[in-house]
């Protein structure tokens, strides 16, 4: 374990960003990924540890002009219990329901889950289905500058993203889903709690007279990053979900994913579950 030389707990964004601009830092919010990674020796602390939990304005869920904005410090429990999200984007609450355990949900933040960039990150899948963007803030020329990146373009590899070291992910934003939006999330694992997904899957789109449009499909734990399923989306876009269309989507889904063998599952099982879950979620959409 490398030595932490400085611990900071800033209360406003500007002072946090100023420190981040000056040199290497480790950020901690919920700490539910950071702590085990440090303990297992997979990560080490930078000389400066910044606790971002006290920064004002980074927590909470709001609905500004047709959008939903979730501050980076919002916990998974807050998402799970949010009336706004239960109505506007229940797929997020569904994923939160299956996230780790009560204690971890109470501490883990949405910003942390995204920046940890695990291929199996449970909250990322529904956000991809919702077409979310992330807001990245940094310090430049004496002021805060902000840029937005589409979440689908955010991940570059396991644990890697386009976020620069001097940037803080401040919020995740998505357009409020249409009234006829339907989305489902599914993850696998032998336990109902405390489970890392061996496969997770989200499907969402607008359903009008049986026709599925603006379809987004996202897969977790079947590639180096959480990813959108372009082939599956194309197989479904604008279609009525007949058994043939669903079977075509299943075939497309198998093409979208590139799973590997690891300790949690083999490539065979992940491919198998992708097919099972794709069909299952599309049946759910049909039955809606």
């Amino acid at each position: 374990m490398s030595e932490i030389e400085q611990y900071l707990a800033p209360e406003n964004l500007a002072s946090a960003l100023e420190v981040m601009a000056a040199g290497a830092v480790t950020l901690v919010a919920g700490g539910t990924d950071l702590t085990p990674q440090i303990n297992e020796g997979r990560r080490s602390y930078a000389p400066t540890l910044i606790n971002i939990r006290h920064i004002e304005g980074l927590s909470g869920i709001s609905a500004p002009d047709g959008h939903i904005r979730i501050g980076c410090l919002t916990t998974v429990s807050e998402i799970r219990q949010s009336d706004l999200l239960t109505t506007a984007a229940p797929i997020l609450c569904e994923a939160a329901n299956h996230f780790a355990s009560e204690q971890i949900r109470n501490a883990a933040t949405i910003g942390g889950n995204i920046c940890n960039a695990s291929p199996a990150g449970d909250m990322i899948i529904p956000l991809l289905v919702l077409g979310a963007r992330v807001e990245l803030a940094s310090w430049k020329d004496g002021g805060v500058v902000v840029r937005q990146v589409a979440l689908k373009d955010f991940f570059t590899g396991p644990g890697r993203t386009v976020r620069r070291d001097d940037e803080l992910l401040t919020a995740v934003i998505f357009a409020r889903p249409a009234e006829n939006f339907i989305g489902y999330f599914r993850k696998s694992g032998p336990r109902p709690a405390l489970e890392i997904s061996t496969v997770s899957l989200g499907i969402g789109g607008n359903l009008t007279d049986g026709r599925f449009s603006d379809v987004r499909v996202a897969f977790g734990a079947v590639g180096p990053t959480p990813m959108r399923g372009k082939n599956t989306e194309a197989a479904l876009e604008g279609k009525i979900l007949t058994p043939d269309v669903i079977q075509a989507a299943v075939v497309a889904a198998r093409k979208d994913v590139t799973p590997i063998d690891d300790i949690r599952a083999t490539e065979w099982y992940r491919n198998h579950l992708v097919a099972v879950f794709t069909e299952e979620l599309l049946q759910n959409v049909c039955q809606n």
């Binding site: 303990n39 355990s101 696998s188 336990r191 949690r264 099982y269 198998h272 099972v276």
Partner: protein, 771 residues
């Protein structure tokens, strides 16, 4: 006088079978209990061990210079610094190693001012290894030219156990059906909430006090002393509250002598406490086994023989693990009436982890095979599955080929009670019929039974327990027992038994059982023996105390002692409960009379059983019990997920003592069994554990616990306290094969290689559809 009027008559009542609260539960629930893991002694140093992290290697050089010069480090030791003293069942293990034989091997150790300094010092030790080719299965260990793991055992063969009874060839020839299958039972581990810990402290006379989680404090001294080169008499074992054992602490493991050596050499107390990853890698496992089982029966459904050839991966060293055939053969020969038995169990050294004892001790493994074979035979016979089992079920008074005497045998009652309660036969047929129908989710029901020792297990010459009981002038009772409390609940049971005999409230009984300098000898918490053995001892001691008190009261009241009783804190007339005097007053009168006397009695209870013996033909337990579990599952045939919905159990408990403790033991046993059956597995690759954490080693969580319907059969054991039998291991033993039989009922697929993980089940179902 008014008080006496109020309690003029006290009716006879009994606590036996009631729900008694565990005395330490509130302190544990609110976090007040100070576990050994929390303990800090004045001037204490923190010990840490460097583990090899590779399976097989020569140690060319160890450079400790950087570690030794780190500020705050008091001592760094390697095998060179300590005498060449051995430990373990066949003395093949050492506190620190001069050669690496498995991943966990202890190569060096440090003592430092803090845990952080100790951890840093470990990183600074530079070891030069020369890796050697390894053996990673029992089969490979037997091959010609296999690397030799232990020089004393050039063919890699470790322990071997055999039992043969009857004419096998004749029995096979006389069988209409013969099954021949290989079951591979996997590695699991105990996952105690409290990780392994020891604190060693020498006094200036060279006497060691060791604070330990051990579950067998008296023989522990005998096993620890040779590794230290001291006399067992110079060891005092103190057992602070411990976070679970389940068999994991039934032996001395290297970290314990290492802590003692560090303490001896530094002159300071030394604590070694594992973190969770260390606990996974460096504590014992359940013994894995390849069980080649053949079973036969006639077309009328009469069992003809069982032949079991068991091959065990011994790992690099020998602890209790490879001795499990002692129980496996009792299951082979005694789980139903088996006229001809052929059993061989051979352990083979490898560079894998090594096993200790673990709740169910061999029977979990063997019953996984025998109970599935019973299910398979019933199906092949096309016979009512309960009728088939009842035909072969032993009855009271029968003796097994190994001479286990089944004085009170309630197997038939367990079978019919559970089957009726779960509507087993009808559901079994219904789900079999539904198997071929369309549908993603399939229901299944499965039954399994087994037998286990329920009156101790005489693996040593004595299986007894000492008890000392004294009463003070206020009628408070102190019981000093040899029996350890490791969370299993003997504290509640002894309080209950003593209060039953002496007519005092259970909360007026104090138990002292955590210090080997105080307690009389006991063989340890294992073999489902403590309520039976220590319970009998406590009862006998209490009866002696009662006789002493009633004799004194008889003199005073001029009534014969037989006509008196102790109830509700009073000496009363037995026939109508009329109060004679207050108990505390009686005790003071005994104390302060011209010929003073206080109540101080002792007892050594030795169960009525025979030593196991080399030929394994002996009545090695004072009682035997059966259990039947019926599992009801829903299998998602797409994902392979097995959801266990309900367990209906019937177990011969002899007599219920503490109903609450009994139910908790059943629930705990089921939780262990579910993990073993469905999700827990230590994944080794070339001798290295790949999942040393709770993320990837999947113990069941609360939502996975099924509904459990419990039926306790009270067979009234003649030898047990109030008729009770030992109960704690059977629920762990029978659940996994019950689930396997249920999964078969749902899917038509047999799982010979647990655990039945979703992937394994999904793959098997998919492969079946491809045929």
């Amino acid at each position: 006088m008014s008080e006496q009027v109020a309690f003029q008559h006290i009716e006879k009542s009994s606590l036996i079978g009631q729900r008694i609260k565990k005395p330490d539960a509130p302190a544990k629930a609110i976090g007040k209990t100070r576990y050994i893991n929390d303990m800090v002694l004045p001037q204490m140093l923190y010990g840490k061990i460097l583990h090899a992290g590779r399976p097989h290697a020569e140690i060319i050089d160890i450079d400790i210079s950087a570690a030794s010069s780190l500020p705050g480090v008091h001592l760094v030791i390697t095998a060179k610094d300590i005498p060449d003293l051995k430990l373990g069942f066949v003395k093949d293990n050492a506190p620190l190693k001069d050669k690496v034989r498995c991943e966990r091997d202890e190569v060096a150790a440090v003592a430092a001012e803090s845990e952080a300094i100790a951890a840093e010092a470990i990183k600074l030790i530079r070891v030069t290894y020369k890796d050697l080719p390894g053996v990673f299965s029992a089969e490979d260990g037997l091959k010609d030219g296999a690397p030799v793991i232990q020089e004393r055992f050039p063919d890699n063969k470790s322990l071997k156990f055999e039992f043969h009874h009857g004419d096998l060839a004749g029995a096979e020839a006389g069988s209409d059906i013969v099954l021949d299958d290989v079951f591979n039972v996997h590695y699991v581990t105990h996952c105690c909430m409290g990780t392994s810990c020891a604190i060693a402290d020498f006094d200036h006379n060279g006497k060691l006090t060791i604070y330990s989680q051990t579950q067998y404090p008296y023989n522990y001294k005998m096993d620890l002393a040779p590794a230290l080169g001291i006399d067992p008499g110079d060891i005092r074992v103190i057992q602070p509250p411990t976070g679970g054992s389940f068999g994991a602490k039934l032996d001395v493991y290297p970290f314990e002598p290492v802590a003692a050596i560090l303490a001896q050499k530094t002159g300071r107390p030394v604590k070694i406490l594992f973190d969770r990853q260390e606990e996974f890698i460096n504590s014992p496992t359940r013994q894995p086994a390849r069980i080649h089982l053949r079973s036969g029966c006639t077309k009328d459904g009469i069992l003809t023989f069982r032949a079991a050839d068991v091959l065990m991966d011994n790992g690099a060293y020998t602890s209790w693990g490879p001795t499990v055939p002692v129980i496996m053969m009792r299951t082979t020969s005694g789980h139903y009436r088996v006229p001809v038995v052929d059993f061989t169990g051979q352990a083979v050294y490898s560079n894998n982890a090594y096993a200790g004892s673990f709740r169910g001790y061999g029977n979990v493994q063997m019953t996984y095979a025998t109970a599935q074979h019973m299910d398979m035979l019933a199906e092949k016979l096309d016979m009512d599955p309960i009728e088939f089992r009842l035909k072969n079920a032993q009855k009271s008074g029968e003796t097994t080929p190994q001479k286990s005497f089944l004085r009170e045998c309630a197997l038939a009652e367990c079978l019919t009670t559970a089957a009726d309660a779960a509507d087993y036969v009808a559901k079994l047929k219904k789900y079999t019929d539904e198997r071929s129908e369309e549908g993603r989710y399939k229901r299944g029901i499965g039954l399994a039974s087994s037998i286990h020792n329920a009156g101790g297990a005489k693996i040593h010459k004595s299986d007894g327990c000492g008890t000392i009981l004294k009463m003070d002038d206020y009628a408070r009772v102190t019981v000093i027992t040899g029996a350890s409390e490791i969370g299993q609940g003997i504290d509640a049971v002894i309080g209950q038994i003593v209060s039953e005999e002496l007519g005092v409230p259970p909360e007026h009984v104090t138990l002292v059982n955590n210090d080997s300098d105080l307690g009389p000898w006991d063989v340890g918490v294992h073999a489902s023996r403590t309520t039976f053995i220590a319970g009998n001892g406590a009862r006998r001691a209490a009866i002696k105390a009662k006789e002493q008190i009633l004799a004194a009261a008889s003199k005073q009241a001029n009534v014969s002692a037989e006509e008196l009783d102790l109830r509700g804190g009073y000496v009363v007339q037995d026939k109508d409960g009329a109060v004679v005097t207050r108990l505390d007053k009686m005790l003071r009168q005994m104390h302060f009379q011209p010929e003073p006397d206080v109540v101080m009695v002792s007892d050594y209870y030795e169960p009525n059983s025979e030593p196991e013996g080399r030929d394994h033909i002996s009545d090695h337990s004072a009682a035997y019990a059966h259990a039947v579990h019926i599992a009801e599952v829903v299998v998602d045939t797409f994902t392979g997920e097995v959801k266990l919905e309900k367990i209906t159990m019937a177990q011969d408990v002899g007599r219920v003592i503490n109903r609450m403790g009994l139910e908790a033991q059943m629930e705990g046993g089921v939780a262990f069994g579910i993990g073993f059956a469905l999700s827990e597995e230590m994944l080794f690759e070339q001798g290295r554990l790949k999942n040393p954490n709770f993320r990837d080693y999947k113990v069941p969580t609360a939502p996975e616990m099924p509904e459990i319907e419990m039926h306790f059969i009270e067979s009234d054991c003649a030898e047990g306290p109030y008729g009770a039998k030992g109960i704690a291991e059977l629920p762990t033993i029978v659940i996994a094969p019950a689930i396997a039989n249920a999964v078969y009922n749902a899917t038509g697929i047999r799982f010979f290689n647990p655990p039945m993980t979703p992937e394994k089940v999904a793959r098997a179902i998919w492969e079946k559809t491809q045929q």
